[in-house]
Amino acid sequence: MTIPQLHPDAAAKVQAHRAKKELMVSLGLAPELPADWREKALCKFDELLHQRRSLALYMDICVRCGACADKCPFFLGTGDPKNMPVARAELLRKVYRRHFTAAGRVSGHLAAGEELTDTVLNEWFTYFYQCSECRRCAEFCPFGVDTAEITMAAREIMASIGVAPKYVTEVIKKAHELGNNIGIPEAAWIDGCQFLEEELKAQTGLDIKVPVNQAGAEVLLVPPSADLFVNTDTMVGYALMFHAAGIRWTTSSYASEAGNFGLFLNYEHLKKINLRIVDSARQLGVKRLVMGECGHAWRAAQAFMNTLNGPLDFLEPPCPEHICELAARLIRAGRLKLNKSANDGLVVTYHDPCNLARGGGLMEEPREILRAVVNDFREMPANTIREKTFCCGAGGGLLTEELMETRMNGVKPRLEAFRTSGATHLATPCAICKAQFPVAFKHYAMNAQVVGVMDLLGKALVL
């Protein structure tokens, strides 16, 4: 995508809604900005600098070479210079220099240091919630400076002084109370699964199970909750695959959500949300844990779960396993009978969710599956796929109405690459991507569809 002209403050007005007092209190966060918020924020900043080498190092070493500047979808889409990863990081770095370095304390502005003021805090809340933590910038940084680490730290500091978005905190509250992000009670999850079983019986004439809370099952599958109610074809794909492979599986009504919005707010909630899944696996006595089609859930589970909630040695390796890893394994072993022509008429390309590609390296298996279930599979341009993939524009807690302008700008580079591919269907194993793309296709009047990888596998399965 061509590099835009600079439009200072082009995105300055787009801001997430702030969470109200009661919501903040329910998550154990400061209800509102305290009188001594500056001291509290700096104190939290200091704590994080002592806890995370990434932050300590990335505050010091950036040389502002600009290699990352044109790699961010939100900068490419808006032209707002503060959406360049280096400039976004500088919002935190200038406060770091002023308060935590000798040069900044001595020479202030000459060392590009700045006091933490209301204006700075407002900028933080704006631009650190216009970052999807996709880490594309880090991929191109000579020192591996990861803006997601900086964004996470800034969000954690803000949450500690009572500043957090309504959307992210609401979702976290639902996850703690009901076990899923869309806020459905356990009974509704059980009903939903039963309903889907009846549908499948009507369609196929077979007894295909969508089990819930089956103690002693071999596999606990944790899908994003949207798979049961919105992206139902994905859920059908899981059910058909387990049926065809003869694997006893179950979902859990207690941990009915793979997604972990704690990743978008702070360490404490990341850990706590993950814990439901581990507890559920232990309680149901399953042998293995499989994660469904969700991008950031994969990072939270694959990279962090063993540390945060482990050891996971009561489960068989690989733990957790991604549904695409399992499916690819079954295909390789010849345990699934597939008929590619069931998906004829579809021109399919694959969109790598950021957290699968850069937060776990899961890039081959989904392609392996697609090649096995689709006749016309093609790639988008090489600099926009695999570890160089462009974010859908809604990751990192941005999937909310009031950030629509940011989302529609952030998706531009991905859509441009998609158009180049000539595909009609964009396959992706991520619930956030699946919610974002239909809106984007409509917004830009594109005749295209988003599907899950397991949807296509399900359609090609010969039962």
Binding site: D60, T101, R282, A303, N306
Partner: protein, 256 residues
């Protein structure tokens, strides 16, 4: 006066540089890495990680992927800086050893130093100017540039300019320079060479040494080696990373 001042300034600067860099690196190394945040695809085993780090350290691999028009001057500049440092070591600190090791006589050695050192000196200043001009003309890079970015560039530019001036104007007596370096290293300082450009060069180098630990130039500490996104393995499932400030295994058997 300059006889005492210059070596003293050099001692002070060197001490500030060593302590300052040591302190920074100590802080980074001491700070925990709570989670596995490696950028994938990443190696699963140590030799692969070493390969990745070598590629970043010596080839600026990520930068090459990002922007060839930045990688070229950046790599050439850093490469020429390393050569210049080696040249100073061979020509000023251990000239007899370097000359013998290369199998040259004194005249040949000086001649070689003149040609290679001169070429690298010009390469360094040309690529540095390239980086400065890039910073000034690319709107997005200019937008993010701060005073310290320009200060570092100008300081290095002046050091290279004075260095090149001594080489090409022929005012420096190399024997005097070697004596000065030897005396300084032996803690028995002697008078600096009579060429005033030499003293200016040294003062600028002292400014740089003092500036490095307190600025973005700390990146010469080989920071890619310490960066968790680059130096970790992609094995969080096989190997449990323990967070040193959150070791407590507070997994309940059930919390429902």
């Amino acid at each position: 006066m300059i006889t005492q001042f210059l070596p003293a300034l050099l001692y002070v600067s060197a001490v500030i540089f060593i302590i300052g860099m040591g302190r920074r690196i100590y802080i980074w190394v001491r700070t925990p890495v709570p989670l596995n945040i490696v950028l994938t695809p990443a190696p699963k085993h140590i030799p692969g990680v070493i390969g990745r780090l070598v590629g970043e350290l010596f080839g600026f691999h990520a930068l090459a992927k990002a922007d060839r028009s930045l990688w070229t001057p950046a790599w050439l500049f850093h490469f020429s800086l390393v050569l210049l440092l080696l040249g100073h070591l061979g020509g000023l600190v251990i000239p007899h050893f370097a000359q013998t090791a290369m199998g040259l006589n004194e005249k040949q050695f000086e001649h070689m130093a003149q040609i290679v050192g001169g070429a690298v000196g010009i390469l360094a200043i040309a690529t540095l100017l390239w980086l400065l001009i890039r910073r000034l003309i690319l709107p997005r890079v200019r937008w993010i540039s701060t005073f310290s970015d320009y200060f570092a560039l100008v300081l290095l530019l002046l050091i290279l300019a004075t260095g090149n001036a001594m080489r090409f104007m022929g005012g420096l007596d190399i024997v005097q320079a070697r004596n000065f370096v030897a005396g300084w290293l032996a803690l028995h300082p002697v008078a600096p060479p009579s060429d005033p450009v030499f003293s200016i060069h040294i003062v600028l180098v002292c400014m740089l040494l003092i500036y490095i630990p307190f600025s973005k130039l700390v990146h010469i500490g080989g920071v890619a080696l310490l960066s968790p996104t680059l130096n970790q393995r992609n094995n969080p499932r096989e190997h449990r990373y323990v967070n040193s400030w959150d070791k407590a295994n507070d997994n309940s058997t059930t919390s429902s």
